[in-house]
Symmetry: C2
DNA sequence: GAATCTTATTTCGATATCGAACTATCTTAT
DNA sequence: ATAAGATAGTTCGATATCGAAATAAGATTC
């Protein structure tokens, strides 16, 4: 790697976008056959690993607006993969959980997904992965700070 | 940074997605006031820096399907920011170029965009940016290779 | 040089997503 | 206790995007 040259911020943003896109396109292609999009897959995945969650909690984890979450869970509900249960303690809240069928379904797909993703990143050493994680988090943190600042400035 | 722990591939993918999303949301918020989305902005930007291009060439650069590019250029055309010119040498081709108004418009916005992006990445040293670029490219390359393999496998 | 294949762009229909408005419920302050 | 405000979820209308089909023109093959 040549550490002499300088990478401009716009260039780095373009590379980030292209890389994200390349991985997303690949992952989409691997689950498209199951009739799943990346968002629906992510919702199932979070339910598998975190257990039953409220609509808002899922939406926050998978980076979707609440309105979009309603549609997503509707889709999964119609396929019998998840179920909405009314909360006992708070009647506004609907808790979403996997059905038995949904659990079997996502478990199998996720296992394969994990293997494919590990294969994809097989070229990155442990140190490289940690580096990449560290740098991405740093950048992501800066962006969310900047977003908040921008939002407050504009809405008041 | 702790290089002892291992970063799993799924975890790294989630971080990549969140970082991409955080930066995208921020950048969107900075150009939303101009009535531009990120794709339309990207199309104008590429025309500013690469000069007039065909529909397909723009679509490829900004990672949009051709069909989406038609809509995007329609929007920009209606606002008087770009113009379609029929190619002399190939009558299938329509070359898109900035109008004078479009050039003034995107020049000003891009300059600001560049400053904001540099500020956003101000926390990354030159070495860190180069590292990040290197690692992202490596990952992106692996993903596009995997995508191609997957595509060929599935379509035949 | 006619038929076939490829390429560039647009049209069309479907869909995922969003923000804003709305409803229902819970919480807080007085 | 009541009013005011906050929160959870949904509905609604708008929009960006896509893949597939359509159209038109070039390129290739025989």
């Amino acid at each position: 790697m040549n550490n002499e040259q300088t990478t401009s911020a716009p260039k780095l943003w373009v590379i980030l976008a292209r890389t994200y896109n390349a991985v997303a396109v690949y992952l989409e292609s691997t689950i498209a056959a199951e009739g799943l999009g990346l968002s629906d897959f992510a919702a199932l995945e979070v339910l598998l690993h975190k257990g039953p969650l409220t609509m808002s909690a899922i939406a926050e984890k998978v980076l979707l607006a609440n309105a979009s979450m309603t549609s997503a869970i509707d889709r999964l509900d119609e396929r019998g993969l998840v179920r909405r249960v009314n909360s006992e303690s708070d009647r506004r809240v609907r808790i979403v959980e996997l059905t038995a069928q949904g659990r079997t379904f996502i478990s199998a797909i996720y296992e394969r997904h994990e293997r494919e993703l590990e294969a994809l990143m097989g070229g990155l050493s442990r140190a490289e992965r940690n580096q990449l994680r560290h740098l991405l988090k740093k950048l992501g943190y800066a962006a969310s700070v900047a977003s908040r600042a921008n939002k407050e400035e504009h809405q008041q």
